[in-house]
């Protein structure tokens, strides 16, 4: 396995507020890294920095041999790093098929026929073969999110970034999307998954990072982390997801 992405000493501040502090990790090809942590701990900012949507204040990100920063040709990097957002952000004026083919046609200059064949295949893979001609407004949240996944995959990226993509879905739809991601992981896609779903984080990850207040507090195999978290902060964080009969007083 070879390193495709490495992050060293990364930091980021919004004004006085330090969002990320001295973040370092490596991502191997075909590896799935999950990142968990409380809201506002910097998870999303980290993903956004890897995709050039936030500037880098300190530290370095290396992707495929190049150092990312102000002088990076972000178009070329973003074409290789797919990203899916919590709020789907489908293009509402385009059909599902056109949503998926837009970037391959405009960025990779693929022929429409070729792009549409690729898109149809991807949409079938995420279980939406019958929605090709639909418009985003006609889809459920889960379906929209699966279109967004297909749209990012259509660029045939080398890494996929998922930013809390089930956070605005009800449990049933969330399941649909999680299963799509698990299937994707089985194809050995390299990915970073930021999530609030602990069961899913354990199931999909090869490695897990627990972020708290902008710092990496704990890292390791998900099974080890969930079975026996090493730090007090991680234990406290996980406790929040447990409910007992006695909680209702």
């Amino acid at each position: 396995m070879s390193k495709i992405l490495s992050v060293t000493g990364l930091s980021k501040s919004f004004g006085e507020h330090r969002v990320l502090d001295d973040i370092s990790f490596c991502l191997e090809e075909r590896q799935v890294l999950t990142i968990i942590g409380a809201s506002g701990c910097g998870k999303s900012t980290l993903l956004r920095m890897i995709n050039g949507l936030e500037t880098i204040d300190g530290g370095e990100i290396h992707f495929d041999g190049q150092t990312l920063g102000a002088h990076t040709d972000w178009r070329q990097v973003r074409a290789q790093i797919g990203m899916v957002f919590q709020s789907y952000e489908l293009f509402n004026h385009l059909s599902v098929l056109d949503n998926v083919t837009l970037a391959p046609i405009r960025v990779q200059k693929k022929k429409r026929r070729e792009a549409e064949e690729l898109a149809a295949g991807l949409l079938a893979r995420v279980g939406l073969a019958d929605k090709v001609k639909a418009f985003p407004r006609q889809l459920s949240g889960g379906q929209k999110q699966r279109v967004a996944i297909a749209r990012a995959l259509a660029m045939q990226p080398r890494i996929m970034l998922f930013d809390e993509i089930t956070a605005s879905l009800d449990p049933e739809m969330s399941q649909e999307v999680c299963h799509t991601l698990l299937e994707l992981a089985e194809t050995r896609m390299t990915m970073i998954v930021v999530t609030h779903e602990m069961g899913f984080a354990q199931a999909i990850g090869d490695e897990l990072i627990f972020l708290d207040e902008g710092r990496i507090v704990e890292r390791g195999h998900p099974d080890d982390f969930f079975a026996a978290p090493q730090t007090e902060r991680a234990r406290r964080f996980l406790k929040r997801f447990e409910f007992h009969k006695g909680d209702r007083k």
Partner: protein, 230 residues
């Protein structure tokens, strides 16, 4: 002998119009209507271009462009077309036709800019990030993602502007352009048939505007279909 009876009083007037003369004036109005349409088409097309440029400059927050653009929008929207025409024609000595087109474009540019800016602002900024993350350039993002969605939102306002601007051309006769209003004025001074000429004028405006109005309504429905699905 019976004394001659005048029917040209009050309510009876409507039924005693000089229909023959009205019919005869039709070709004159038709020719002038072409002039009105020419000025409107050129003026509105230019207004759209000016409006789009201004809306982009504001939306993209281009440095140093904000103030001048906003000043232009306020200037164009808060001065009457009549005054703009006078200044261009009698002040700056611009010929009647180019002057009319320019004044209409100047006035319309401000209105179009506001309509388009409203449309652009209605598109979520997160759409930009989503497009950029796919590798699209800023320009491609604007053209293929933001602008189409902005237009869908802006169509009703743009349509209203088109109708408003076409009607605004009714003042261009003050700089001696032979539009349909000028024809009506000429007919009145020739035959003193004020009612006939003005009724013809109303009819000609209706004939010009109704199809445009219907076309815009059709466009609004089409666009809504795209925006909201079936």
């Amino acid at each position: 002998m019976m004394p001659p009876v005048s029917y040209a009083t009050g309510a009876c007037k409507v039924f005693s119009l000089d229909y023959a003369n009205m019919l005869e004036s039709a070709p004159l109005f038709a020719r002038a209507a072409l002039t009105t349409l020419k000025i409107s088409t050129a003026g509105i097309a230019l207004a759209l271009i000016i409006g789009l440029a201004c809306a982009f400059l504001l939306y993209l927050r281009i440095p140093l462009a904000g103030r001048p653009v906003r000043a232009y929008i306020e200037l164009s929207r808060n001065t009457p077309l009549l005054v703009q025409l006078f200044l261009l024609h009698f002040g700056l000595k611009v010929d009647a036709m180019p002057c009319s087109v320019a004044a209409l474009a100047f006035l319309g540019g401000g209105y179009m800019a506001e309509a388009l800016r409203g449309g652009l602002e209605a598109v979520e900024r997160a759409q930009i990030e989503s497009a950029l993350s796919l590798g699209l350039s800023r320009w491609q993002t604007l053209c293929f993602v933001i602008l189409p969605q902005a237009l869908i939102v802006a169509v009703p306002a743009l349509g209203a502007n088109v109708i408003f601007l076409l009607k605004e051309t009714s003042v261009v006769s003050v700089v001696a352009v032979t539009d349909i209003v000028a024809v009506a004025k000429d007919l009145i001074s020739l035959y003193y048939e004020t009612t006939e000429a003005l009724i013809m004028l109303v009819l000609v405006y209706l004939v010009l505007l109704l199809p445009i109005c219907l076309a815009i309504r059709h466009l609004e429905r089409r666009v809504k279909h795209v925006a909201f699905g079936n």
